[in-house]
Amino acid sequence: MKRKVGFKTLGCRLNQFETDALASKFVNLGYDVVEDSKDTDVFVVNTCTVTNQSDQKSRYVVNKALNQGHGGMLIITGCMANHHKEQLEKRYPNAYVINNDQKSAIPQLVEAHFNKEIKPSNDHKGGVFSYAPAAETFHTRSMIKIQDGCDNYCTFCIIPKVRGRAVSRSVDDILENIRQVVSFGYKEVVITGVNISRYNDNGTNFSALLKQIVDLDLDFRVRISSIEPDSFDDEFFELLKHPKITPHLHLCLQSASESVLLKMRRMYTYKLYQRIIERLRTIDPLFNITTDIIVGFPEESVADFQQSLDAVNEMQFGHVHTFKYSKREDTRAARMTNVVPEKEKTKRSEELRQVAVDAKIKYRKQFIGKTQQVLIDTVKDGYSKGYGEYYIPVKIAGKLKKNQLYNIQILDMENDSIDPCLRAKIVE
């Protein structure tokens, strides 16, 4: 009988990439792979620690599995495992708590466990890029990890401490990874990493890498995931006009107040951010810009917050992830004193979310009547759903094939008040 491994992934696309790669490896080893802990021999929780809420969610997933009677092997990995390793080992003495840099060796660890070898103590050789290209994944798009770690040291961010120093994967490895996943049948690759704009492999920067990716003589499209707006060059903007590159960037803003950005130690100004958006919308007036905004950073005044609110309308964001500032120990911001009360943070967060929803709806309405090519990722209850080039959810009546591209025309938009899908019909 086949062994079964379950996964639960929290947080960023990098975690998703790593889970996908691990899942694919387990399939290759003869395991069944599922997305929960029920009846599994192994349950892997790939955690996140970017906010207190992320820690809570990660712990909740582990506790839920145990409360539901999971008696198999339990593996806790990801950034929370790095950040709170000792606490987790103490609280879950039967779990394997695996650092990020050893995450890629989890399949070997599991095999060793079932072969009744001595319980390994994190001595399996891993490596932050030692993941096989994933044939079997939880996603329709193939995540391509190009980079890990971050040297920016934003004052609020714990990630450099848990992901470590910035390192870049070699160009050859990345191109080979893409060739393989395209041969597996993927139509879209998502370029991912902790801080991809700082990619540098022996002098090849992010734009130069992107150029080599789009020059691959293969049929696929490229999505750039979350990126910092601090090191774009002219070549990057030129490349965004390439037909293989989708017109969408998740461009982290965090705050539109110049003084808050300085206190966050972000490496750009709001004025620079505005100029980038202008250039993007010159390339394509509908270019989808999604973003992250933190509210209630220490010393954020009402006027500072108002600037972030205004930015949501001014920038016409397609989507805003709103985060209440969450104090992370061992960061510079944790030592800042003039903190915003929790109640006020909640109030600002709700206000920003509402403005962001209004902006999203306004942005999406512009697509009615337009055509797009949608990659189908969900088929159920008489409809099919997917994302077009601009990364906006589109629903089409009827059963279509998953992982296929369809030319569609947008007809209208759902009435959902928070995240309305566009409705469309197939066109030739």
Binding site: E35, F129, A132, A135, Y153, R275
Partner: protein, 239 residues
């Protein structure tokens, strides 16, 4: 495993081995010398070991027996065989008072250098630079100038009192402007921002700002009024 596509039989090749991870390297470094510049400010000279760096980068430094470190821009030159940092004791601070108690022959914890506040190598050799510092924010500029003696620069240093002109003889006298806000012993009596308002260095210069948030914020506004593009402004905030 319903959600998964049928297994592709194509061989899955493990990616090439890479060094196991990108952990931040930390080591103990011996204190070689301590140079007091004022009652509260001193230069800590420490072993360099294998720590190569680019002028403008910083290191996290802390006492050997503590869990806390703080970021300090490197004060010495790239080619020096030791590392130096400029430390100002912060009242009730967790790190600087401990560092002040250390003596020659003792040790500090040092993390490897990091940061992007560096000279862009793609700029021409005769590029004009304007360095603007407040207080110990002079540190990266000291490293710039000692590392690259041919730099075409003007340095504006904002302090309260002239005694805070830390080792100003490292800079060309004609390229250095000491702005003292609390007394008139400097080259200019007033804040560095006041000096900049009445002395423009042009749109083509590259401006490097290092110091407290308020100074940097105000300088950004002044430079914007002078028509300088933000592409030409580089900032390192001190807290």
């Amino acid at each position: 495993m319903e959600r998964f596509k049928k297994m592709n039989k194509q061989a899955i090749i493990m990616s090439k081995e890479v060094p196991v991870a990108n952990k931040i390297k930390t080591d103990l470094h011996e204190i070689l010398d301590i140079r007091y510049l004022t009652d509260s400010t001193f230069v800590l000279r420490i072993e360099k070991k294998e720590l190569d760096f680019e002028a403008g980068q910083h290191v996290c430094v802390g006492p050997p027996n503590g869990i806390h470190t703080r970021e300090y821009s490197i004060y010495s030159a790239e080619q020096d065989d030791c590392l130096e940092i400029l430390v100002k004791e912060v009242e009730n601070g967790l790190v600087s008072p401990s560092l002040k108690k250390l003596q020659k022959g003792g040790f500090v914890v040092v993390e490897e250098p990091v940061g992007y506040f560096t000279i862009n190598k793609n700029l021409p050799a005769n590029q004009k630079y304007v360095f603007i510092a407040s207080g110990t924010g002079i540190s990266p500029f000291h490293s710039f100038v000692l590392s690259k003696p041919d730099l075409n620069y003007t340095l504006l240093h904002g302090v309260k009192y002239a005694e805070e002109a830390y080792e100003a003889d490292a800079f060309n006298k004609e390229d250095y402007v000491l702005c003292t806000s609390q007394e008139s012993k400097g080259d200019y009596n007033g804040r560095v921002t006041d000096y900049l308002k009445t002395n423009s260095f042009g749109k083509d210069a590259h401006y490097y700002l290092c110091g407290n948030c308020n100074m940097i914020h105000d300088v950004y506004d002044i430079l914007e009024e002078q028509g300088v593009s933000t592409d030409n402004i580089h900032a390192e905030v001190y807290f």
